[in-house]
């Protein structure tokens, strides 16, 4: 293999491999990026077997071929090169020679045969979705993903095809067992998703990076049973889906919510932040007392002291107390954009449903704590 390519082009491809390659190596080849030169193009691929990324770049290919090289080392070397023109040559025993200006590197490579085979092929039912939509849906749900490795089926975002206000659409759901959030948005076309799939945490992060990488181009998404293929511009990403059952989240959304409270989102956030200064770092436990026209937030912590906050709210009904984790509320209030939030409650052992004032496609639930 022998190619000539510009430094910026090569860097843009290697940039994508950096967060994908494994840090703690089980298979040495997974630290490497696969470089494949075909006439006119260079393809760069990296994977940790859970997420794979591939990007295609124009290059001046003298001899086609392929090799794998340590992705982090190569990225650092290319970044420091003095000249815009870079020449890559594969020598005997997979040594790779990098020449740029007056610099000349010779670094260790590995045979491309050892690199896992990945299938980046998109099926027919590809849907292109505006990146803003994907980013919004991720930000409105991702905070509720579980980090508990034991509950692997909750370590990601559940994704299912839904009709949204009569139009085809998609819904993202995340829960850690104590709270849940979903966000649904219409899409230009209908997703061929017979049942829901779970995108793992790392895949969610990479998808976010892909959508966040500038430009107006939409992202095209394709699900087959086992993986998600996301493509945008020169970059294609592959995410292996979690093989697990997502809990029946719709069954636990209460239908009957006799107590409805509306409050100003900004004020609510400020009060909760102040109360959190006293609440225990571990449990973030606060007590919310709902009484006509008012919410009181209070907490005591033997190590710090106590706090009592009052804020106006529209509520008619009897006074009652519920214990909550303040952090769960702060997380969800931060992603809502409307001025007011609407909370629906039943009692102090049933979930509290929080919705945005106007956004009907968003719903969040928080389970109380024991007082």
């Amino acid at each position: 293999m022998e190619i000539k390519i510009t430094k910026s082009e090569l860097l843009s491809g290697l940039f994508w491999t950096q967060s994908v390659v494994e840090r703690k190596v089980t298979m040495p080849v997974l630290s490497n990026a696969l470089l494949e030169a075909t006439p006119k193009t260079l393809t760069i691929t990296a994977t940790d077997l859970e997420v794979g990324v591939r990007s295609t770049h124009t290059a001046d290919v003298a001899t086609p071929g392929k090799v794998t090289v340590h992705a982090k080392n190569l990225y650092e070397i290319i970044r420091q090169l003095p000249d815009e023109k870079v020449k890559l040559t594969v020598k005997a025993n997979h040594w790779v020679e990098i020449v740029s200006g007056k610099s000349r590197f010779k670094i260790v490579g590995m045979s491309a045969d050892e690199f896992p085979k990945l299938s980046f092929s998109e099926g027919k039912e590809v849907q292109s979705v505006p990146t803003d939509t994907v980013l919004e849906m991720i930000s409105k749900t991702a905070y509720a993903m579980s980090t508990d490795e034991v509950r692997y089926n909750l370590n990601g975002i559940y994704c299912e095809a839904r009709d949204v206000e009569g139009k085809p659409g998609i819904r993202f759901v995340a829960t850690d067992g104590h709270r849940m959030a979903y966000c649904e948005r219409p899409t230009p076309g209908k997703f061929a998703l017979p049942k829901g799939v779970i995108i793992p945490r790392k895949g969610v992060g990479e998808l976010k990076r892909l959508c966040d990488s500038g430009g107006d181009a939409p992202v095209s998404l394709y699900f087959d049973g086992k993986q998600l293929v996301a493509a945008r511009g020169a970059v294609t990403m592959l995410v292996r889906l979690i093989d697990g059952q997502f809990p029946p989240y719709e069954q636990v959304i209460p239908k009957d919510l006799p107590k409805v409270v509306t409050a100003d989102r900004k004020q609510f956030i400020d009060s909760l932040k102040r109360a959190s200064l006293v609440a225990s770092d571990m449990s973030h436990a606060v007590k919310m007392t709902f009484s006509p026209g008012m919410i009181e937030i209070s907490t005591t912590n033997p190590d710090v002291g106590e706090v009592h906050e009052e804020m106006a709210a529209t509520y008619k009904g009897e006074t009652f107390d519920v214990g909550f984790n303040a952090k769960y509320f702060l997380d969800l209030l931060a992603v809502i954009s409307d001025e007011s939030v609407v909370m629906g409650l039943k009692n102090n052992v049933s979930p509290c449903v929080i919705r945005s004032e106007f956004d009907r496609g968003f719903l969040s639930m928080v389970m109380p704590r024991r007082l």
């Binding site: 034991v150 509950r151 829960t175 067992g177 104590h178 709270r179 849940m180 809990p247 029946p248 989240y249 636990v252 571990m282 449990s283 436990a285 214990g323 984790n325 052992v349 979930p351 639930m365 389970m367 109380p368 704590r369 024991r370 007082l371």
Partner: protein, 418 residues
């Protein structure tokens, strides 16, 4: 370089570590003076040695040996059943003697304690080594329990010192002599270094504790992370682990294990033993106002092979009723038909305060609240009518020993091995 001291300060801090020698066996010898000077081992009820007296050790008996091996090696050795109540009383007495010398005493385990002596020289008009001698003599004369004592600049160093000479040892290492102690300490003997860490350090040609601290700090950090940094500084005499003088109020975990003889192959009987351990551990958790969200349960076979499983609860609980169904569902992982079992055990992990439990979305909170009030009702019945007056029905399979909280000596159910 080799003999250069690590620090020239003598006593920036003075931490004392007391370690009772063959504690359980020593208590037995003190309680029954006719056992003095004889080789004895405790743990007869478990079938393995839990402690061997100094005399028994001299004959080559060590902890963990099976009793048949003990009698084969040394027929004159006396086998004694453990009496944990006595051990607890003597343990408290040792801690109380330490508290006469300094208020900062950490009850590290039943037979070990740390005490911070820093600044007490003026009060006692003695050097640290004389204070340590005093403590050792007082424990010896008042309780007749042999202890080994180490004094140095940090907990890790004090612990090395108390191990350095045993039994009835006294090792006192001021700052300017730390390197001498560390040069004589193999890495595997450092507090907190297990087999795996030892092997890893040896790969980097670190053989003694001194080799380890002579390396730069970043080396320790890169190799072992935060633990490595703490260890490195502790061994150089900079305190990283303070003496925690607060009485034990929080628990990392609560365990309950019981051995029963003869071993049994009855599924119901072994399950009943497990339930009894569960009830006991949960009652202890409730006493401290704690709830668990992860448990390990295990069953040990006659041939000492044991199988354990870990169970994760979707929300913290302190009621055995919350767990029995889950335990029954997974019991087949640890119990195989046709094998004889001799012990079961339960450990509760991830203990959090019971008040303020976070409810789970996918679990009915009312169910666990009911289970908890049932457990509280059982507590109040027990308080009024004594232990064993109320228990889970599974325990009926223990026969006439169902009500006893002690390991039953003679199970009465069928299918029990002889």
């Amino acid at each position: 370089m080799k003999n250069e001291p690590l620090t020239i300060r003598r006593w920036p801090r003075a931490i004392l570590h007391v370690d009772a020698d063959s504690f359980f066996a020593s208590v037995e010898q003190t309680v029954n003076p006719e056992l003095k000077g004889k080789p004895i081992v405790t743990g007869a009820e478990r079938g393995i040695v839990t402690a061997a007296s100094i005399e028994a050790r001299a004959l080559g008996i060590s902890r963990g040996m099976s009793l048949s091996e003990v009698t084969a090696r040394c027929p004159q050795c006396l086998l004694i059943s453990s009496n944990f109540e006595n051990y607890g009383l003597y343990s408290k007495a040792i801690f109380n003697i330490l508290r006469r010398y300094t208020p900062d005493v950490e009850e590290y385990s039943i037979d070990e304690a740390f005490a911070d002596l820093t600044g007490t020289r003026r009060m006692h008009h003695k050097s640290y080594i004389d204070i340590a001698h005093d403590i050792q003599n007082t424990i010896h004369t008042e309780l007749d329990i042999p202890v080994s004592v180490g004094v140095s600049l940090s907990k890790s160093l004090a612990k090395l010192c108390s191990k350095f000479r045993k039994p009835r040892g006294m090792t006192c290492v001021p700052g300017y002599l730390i390197h001498e102690l560390l040069a004589r300490t193999p890495v595997g003997s450092i507090w907190g270094v297990g087999h795996n860490t030892e092997a890893l350090l040896k790969k980097h040609s670190i053989k003694t504790a001194l080799d380890f601290v002579r390396r730069p700090l970043y080396f320790a950090e890169e190799l072992l992370g935060k633990v490595g940094v703490d260890l490195w500084q502790e061994l150089r005499g900079d305190v990283r682990y303070g003496v925690d003088a607060s009485a034990k109020q929080t628990y990392g975990s609560i365990s309950r294990t019981r051995t029963f003889t003869p071993p049994s192959s009855s599924r119901d009987y072994v399950f009943a033993q497990l339930i009894r351990n569960l009830e006991y551990a949960m009652a202890k958790a409730r006493r401290f106002g704690l709830a668990t969200s992860r448990l390990t349960v295990y069953a040990k076979q006659q041939n000492f092979r044991s199988t354990a499983i870990e169970l994760q609860l979707s929300q913290p609980s302190s009621s055995p009723l919350d767990v029995t169904a889950l335990l029954r569902e997974h019991f087949h992982h640890i119990f195989k038909e046709g094998h004889f079992y001799r012990a079961t055990g339960v450990t509760l992990h991830q203990l959090t305060p019971q008040s303020g439990t976070q409810f789970s979305l996918f679990e009915d909170p009312m169910r666990s609240l009911k289970a908890e009030s049932a457990a509280q009702a059982m507590d109040s019945i027990t308080a009024q009518f004594g232990p064993g007056s109320v228990f889970l029905a599974e325990r009926l399979h223990l026969g006439c020993h169902a009500t006893s909280n002690k390991a039953s000596p003679l199970p009465t159910l069928e299918k029990i091995a002889v």
